[in-house]
Amino acid sequence: MEKFKKIESNAIPLPMVNVDTDMIIPKQFLKTIKRTGLGKNLFYELRYDEKDAPIDSFVLNQDKYKDSQILITGKNFGCGSSREHAPWSILDYGIKCIIASSFADIFYNNCFKNGILPIKLDESEVTKLQNAAENSLSFTIDLENQKISYFDKNINHEVSFELDKAKKTSLLEGLDDIGLTLAKVNHISDFENKQKSITPWLYSQQIK
């Protein structure tokens, strides 16, 4: 996984609540066997009409947000299906940071596996950032110092955010989770031996 670096970009305002993963990437795009190439279909049904033509009013189709790396949205973002195609499509589009007042658990977790930083802030704070995003101001996301900053009318605004230490390290260092766990393979073997003696039926079950 790529290391998470400081982001400087304007932000896409999407003030909707309960945005579900079906909305982020509809099922017809889940038939792929690859992780890449999903960005063009991100928010497909909000973004394109029934003839596949871009819907001008949708924020992703507005020129000024073309290269944004940040998405600011409403509470319970990413609810629904566990499909990792949701963060894959977000990342493939170029978004590396999502700000909301809350996220659904599975989606939140999936973000970190793909180098995306989801930031939880109070609703009032998110609303302020939404407004700044509407004005296409530029934001800096500094994960190292856990700070979001932006200039509005020559005043520098700084917002701190909380993040679990393990998740922060994993993003900053682009860690290979599986490799880290496999380094503890002896613990896993020990556990299996212990479990086999306590609940042996888990190990004698045979597929017929």
Partner: protein, 467 residues
Amino acid sequence: MSTPKTLYDKIWNDHLVSENEDGTSIIYIDRHLVHEVTSPQAFEGLKIANRSVRKPHFTLATADHNIPTTNRDEGISDPESKLQVDTLEENCKEHGITFLSMSDKRQGIVHIIGPEQGFTQPGMTIVCGDSHTSTHGAFGALAWGIGTSEVEHVLATQTLVQTKAKNMQINIQGEVPLGVTAKDIVLKIIQTIGTAGGTGYVIEYTGDAIKSLTMEGRMTVCNMSIEAGARAGLISPDEKTIEYLEGRPFSPAENEYQSASDYWLSLASDDGAAYDKTVNIDASDIIPQVTWGTSPEDVVSIDGLVPNPEDESDETKKKSMIRALEYMGLVPNTPLKEVKVDKVFIGSCTNGRIEDLRAASKIAKNRKVADHVNAIIVPGSGLVKQQAEEEGLDKIFIESGFEWREPGCSMCLAMNADKLKPQERCASTSNRNFEGRQGRGGRTHLMSPAMAAAAAINGKLSDSREI
């Protein structure tokens, strides 16, 4: 005496491999269910890193999400879906994982076949790249949905790195009135706590109304834990659980069954165990429920009205209500029972089990599906289908005018050919009424199998108790 523990605490403790320096824990995964949509990239990841599957025999695979429910003999006509299913089969062959193919009568929706095969057992940790893995919690197994990166992690290590969730108790006191089902209970729960109410928690369902549910009913409740925001839902194992599992293909053998059962019963939450949050709901207040909007929390009783956004004081909520009503093509204050439907879907991992089909068949028997309605029944597995046919349910449905299909996820997520057209309205026993979920522009009303069957007969949303 040791501190009283919840079922969740006990399963967590029994699966703790090690605690990492950063506060996370490595948790052992006893069983892994795999399907075609969320696994190809995981197997590809293994190949790239030159890693193998640690416990192929703790893994069970099948194709369910994008397979056809008609003309199975002709195979899969959609090339992308076919590639995904073929890829799963090849990956399973390469790694020695049991794969139940479309032609195997044991094939079906992962969350139906796990319990049916006895692959699901109390006290286990079970994962799958599918959010409705919470279904298996009905057995007192800690089961949750994961993304593809974690699928790869489990394949390679048979563990996951986790942070412990909080405990929530949802206590359904008393008994539900006659004609009220598990689906009505869980819709009521989601309405009560909201779709983010369970975020960060594992929910344990308790109370007399839960205890008196069959295992099928318990699965329906646990299945929709994710719609309440919780990754996992649990019900403490009891005699019903033990009875259900006895003699199933993967269940512990006869000589081990007693000790397994003793262990399972010991897992039930202790009296006096502490929960971080408790929600009480009175069962006697629950009547058949339906959704009116595009979020599973948009629930009303069948005798109610389409809500009016003008009555909502919260501006954000009001806005999303207006959007939902527009999408759903509904006018505020319309009685639910006047809403006409075009399609009916009975099936899914929520309600595709034998008991669900029996409930629907009772309504369908000696009645006809309304002329303007297209109604399909999709059994959850080949074995559910077989049993229903042995009981003659297929004939009842076909005589009534329902279509009798092959097992799979079908119109719950509409990845295969079964989908709604724009503006079509569907009475559905599935679990999500999101915009576009059953097809672009499609309008979904979630409800129980009896309620969906009643909607098929009357051609509009109806109270199954009045038929």
